[in-house]
């Protein structure tokens, strides 16, 4: 596939992990898109920012720790993720809590992100 034909994808994840598999599906889709060398970005919106809570331990529940998956994304060339500023604040997440490549985005910046991608996937 030629570079010119590549279409950028914005994966928008809006739900917390507990009780659902949707958050995991969003991360898998992001990683798969990156694995095929297609431009992809991940935006945590609303309750989706709860996936970013540090020091999660889901071992007693018996499901994978999503924060670990998120932290591994730079290995797959997903260097940055975008985080809804208002939601992060509402849920008490500080900059120190966020993954190293996280970029906080206000509503105007979110709009610019939506504008800048060919496809938007809503999870």
């Amino acid at each position: 596939m030629s570079a010119a034909a590549r279409k950028s994808v914005l994966v928008v994840t809006r739900h917390a992990q507990p009780g659902r598999s949707l958050a995991r599906a969003a991360l898998d889709t992001t990683l798969a898109t990156a694995a095929f060398d297609q431009p992809v970005n991940l935006l945590f919106l609303g309750a989706g920012v709860l996936q970013l809570i540090p020091h999660q331990d889901s071992s007693a529940v018996g499901v994978r720790n999503l924060r670990k998956v998120i932290d591994s994304m730079p290995l797959y060339d997903v260097e940055h993720c975008y985080v809804d500023t208002d939601a992060a604040q509402r849920h008490g997440l500080t900059t120190a809590d966020l993954p190293s490549g996280a970029i906080l985005v206000d509503v105007a910046a979110q709009r610019a992100l939506f504008d800048a991608h060919h496809h938007i996937l809503g999870f």
Partner: protein
């Protein structure tokens, strides 16, 4: 209005058929896209959406069967119906190869659905002019 341009669509379905009517809406949207002269080469089912491919789902007689709506798209228009393999096998949706591999007597996925990796979604997104997601719950 200028001449209509035919667009290449891809649908991403994450709603299970028995939870509300999102998957029926999605199948109707797919049919409408084609009726308008656009093309729909592939529908990709992910997460809970893979249940749409369950061959043994029974719909009440006075209701529309999502399974029938989807398979009609495949039969009439050649739309490929792809179930994300990792989401599907978790939910017991197996094609004959997977059924054999895991020691089950028969496939549970409808034969008009194929099991495939997320790469097939990535591929469809690259050729699509429009990707529409159905089903992330509120």
């Amino acid at each position: 209005m200028g001449m209509a341009v035919a667009l290449n669509y891809c649908l991403l379905i994450m709603a299970a058929p028995a939870s509300g009517y999102t998957s029926l809406t999605a199948a109707r949207f797919g049919a409408a896209v084609i009726a308008q002269g656009h093309i729909l080469p592939r529908v990709f089912f992910l997460d809970g959406g893979t249940s749409n491919g369950l061959a043994t789902a029974i719909t009440a007689q006075d209701e529309k069967s999502p399974l029938t709506e989807w398979t009609q798209l495949a039969t009439a228009h050649g739309t490929e119906l792809v179930l994300c393999v990792s989401s599907a096998v978790k939910r017991g949706l197996l094609d004959s190869a997977e059924a054999q591999r895991h020691g089950f007597p028969a496939a549970t996925a409808h034969p008009q659905f194929a099991l495939g990796g997320l790469g097939l979604l990535v591929e469809a997104m690259q050729s699509a002019d429009r990707v529409i997601t159905f089903g992330a719950p509120e």
